[in-house]
């Protein structure tokens, strides 16, 4: 566990071949990415982008065609590499014959926790994910979808993992529940747990993650810190009758310039630059048509990355 990275994927590739036609499907194509220890990382992508296959390769549920992955420096194909991982799959199917406590006991035992530790951890984690103790002896088959999601999170946390891999963690959970899950994850992040989220819910990812990667058709389309990727935030200033010399001066400060029918539109990354531009424009009697604060959301970044 000496690596500075929780996850390292090196040219990870998974090719599925149909048995009859031998047609190739590149579910994950030459993806390399690194997730720092303690980071909150979001893996985004449209349906069929290869996100789940990528995650399954980290867990060795899917064998890579080429390339490899390491978890805290350990080869991901080794069972020991999975010891620090807590995983919540999408569309999980917990056996309905379990009670809530029984299920946690089973998965805790598979993680190697002895009986005494299990007995102590189970009610703690159950309460931590917001499930009342009275539901502990209730059959899982009678749980609502939101409760099942919380129970799934509880099984992922039962052995105090240092890397949490969550596939659509807020799926089926109401807004209050989502907020609670986010609070739990924030608490874990503060404890230094690396959190890797695979999600469609861009707003959730934007609110919670420091870094993201966007997969599209199996390839890594974009990756980076959320604040860098959404740096399009700022102010859009539209003005008319702008002299050429001033326009050139403002172009140097603007992040974006576009000619419009009756003038020109500038995008400034900060309020100070926008105010300075207004001062210059007014000093030369230019007409200010509009000044609008703008933001480039992760959704815009996502759509742009996927469309490219």
């Amino acid at each position: 566990m000496s690596s500075e990275y929780a996850i390292e994927a090196e040219r990870l590739t998974k090719i599925y071949r149909s048995r009859l036609s031998r047609r190739e499907i590149r579910a994950v194509d030459d993806v390399s990415l690194q997730v720092r220890r303690g980071a909150t990382y979001g893996l985004l992508g449209p349906n069929g982008a290869g996100k789940t296959t990528f995650v399954k390769m980290l867990l060795s549920a899917v064998h890579p065609t080429s390339g490899g992955a390491r978890v805290f420096g350990e080869d991901a194909s080794r069972p020991e590499a999975r010891r620090p991982i807590g995983y919540l799959p999408e569309n999980h199917r917990f056996p309905t014959y379990f009670t809530g406590f029984g299920m946690l006991d089973f998965y805790a035992a598979l993680s190697g926790l002895d009986q005494a530790t299990r007995g102590k951890r189970i009610p703690e984690v159950f309460a931590r994910v917001g499930l009342e103790e009275k539901f502990g002896d209730m059959r899982v088959g009678k749980y609502s979808k939101g409760m099942l999601q919380r129970l799934g999170l509880a099984q992922a946390l039962i052995h105090a993992p240092t890397l949490l891999i969550l596939d659509e963690p807020a799926d089926g959970v109401d807004p209050v529940g989502r907020r609670e899950i986010r609070d739990i994850l924030t608490g874990l992040e503060q404890q230094g747990v690396t959190i890797f989220i695979n999600s469609h819910q861009l707003v959730e990812v934007e609110l919670f993650c420091d870094e993201v990667a966007i997969l599209c058709k199996g390839k890594l389309a974009l990756s980076g810190k959320v604040k860098d990727l959404t740096a399009g935030k700022g102010y859009r200033l539209a003005a008319a009758q702008v002299p050429d010399a001033l326009q050139q001066a403002l172009c140097a400060q603007a992040s974006l310039v576009a000619a419009r029918d009756h003038g020109v539109e500038f995008q400034f990354p900060t309020r100070e630059l926008a105010n300075h531009a207004v001062d210059l424009l007014r000093s030369q009697k230019c007409e200010i048509e509009s000044l609008i604060p703008t933001s480039s959301t992760l959704e815009e970044v996502f759509v742009k990355a996927v469309e490219q």
């Binding site: 549920a61 999980h92 056996p95 998965y107 598979l110 993680s111 190697g112 099984q155």
Partner: protein, 277 residues
């Protein structure tokens, strides 16, 4: 760690067997059979010795006849256990392997720091234990009932536990392989039951050697016979032992079936380790 994981996997198999009513169905059936012997076998004791024993409407007073009656009953139970109960056990167990391969469940199992072989073998062992406990319960209970009622304690009857569990372990290896290959309880059952049904036919080797005209067809028959598990032969051996007869050629069917089971299980482990989920 290994013991904790193994115990958890076995417990899980039991939980599922309970939930699917498999365990209770086998247990209930055994109980009915035991009750049948408790209430249907009437013994009149005169001056400390068995005067008459009545079973299935047949009454006997002579010791040799009583022993023959007991041996016959033991043989009947061993046959029941070995055939019908085995069919039921295979039907009941066929779902226990594909169920862990269901999407949404297998990923979670594989995400734990446990080898794939450990997961599969844990299920296999749990499944065998479910059937073994029922066999032990039935055979021991019948043996005790007969022992108490007749004073005859024939220990060779207990061999039925070993042979039943052994042949179930061999058949279960086919269920496991078919399960990991096809994810289908129905296919796993069909293949296993098919082999069980073929076994008495294949066991007629001597007759078939005379009937088959060409050498290659006789070779083919021998290859199939020696390769596949000898359910019928081992059943016959069990009956011979239970009846107190010597069992000639006892080892070939046992070791060749064991070898077949080991090969099936190894193939299942290989397939399971290579699969993507």
């Amino acid at each position: 760690m290994t013991a904790i994981v193994t115990a958890a996997l076995i417990r899980d198999t039991f939980r599922e067997a309970f939930a699917r009513k498999i365990f209770w169905a086998l247990f209930g059936l055994s109980t009915v059979l035991i009750a049948f012997f408790i209430f249907l076998m009437r013994i009149d004791v005169v001056e400390g010795a068995n005067a008459t024993v009545s079973l299935f409407g047949h009454t006997s007073g002579r010791t040799t006849e009583v022993r023959r009656l007991v041996d016959g009953a033991y043989g009947g139970i061993a046959t029941f256990l070995y055939t019908w109960a085995m069919f039921l056990a295979v039907f009941a167990s066929a779902g226990l392997i594909p169920s862990i391969l269901e999407p949404g469940r297998i990923e979670l199992l594989l995400s734990k720091p446990v080898r794939r072989s450990h997961i599969l073998l844990g299920r296999y062992a749990g499944n065998i234990l479910v059937v073994a406990l029922n066999s032990i319960y039935l055979v021991l209970a019948v043996w005790i009932v007969f022992g108490i009622k007749t004073g005859i304690w024939e220990q060779q009857f207990l061999v039925a536990i070993l042979t039943t569990v052994f042949i179930f372990a061999v058949l279960l290896s086919i269920v496991v392989l078919a399960g990991v290959l096809f994810d289908s309880p129905a296919v796993a059952t069909m293949i296993t039951v098919g082999l069980m049904i073929m076994s008495p036919i294949l066991a007629q080797t001597r007759i078939m050697m005379k009937l088959l005209s060409s050498e290659w067809s006789r070779d083919a028959w021998r290859i199939v016979y020696y390769t596949l598990p000898k359910v019928y032969d081992i059943g016959k051996i069990t009956l011979d032992i239970v009846a107190g007869h010597s069992a000639p050629d006892a080892w070939m069917p046992v070791w060749s079936s064991a070898l077949f089971g080991a090969a099936m299980l190894s193939a299942a482990l290989f397939v399971f380790s290579k699969r993507n989920f």
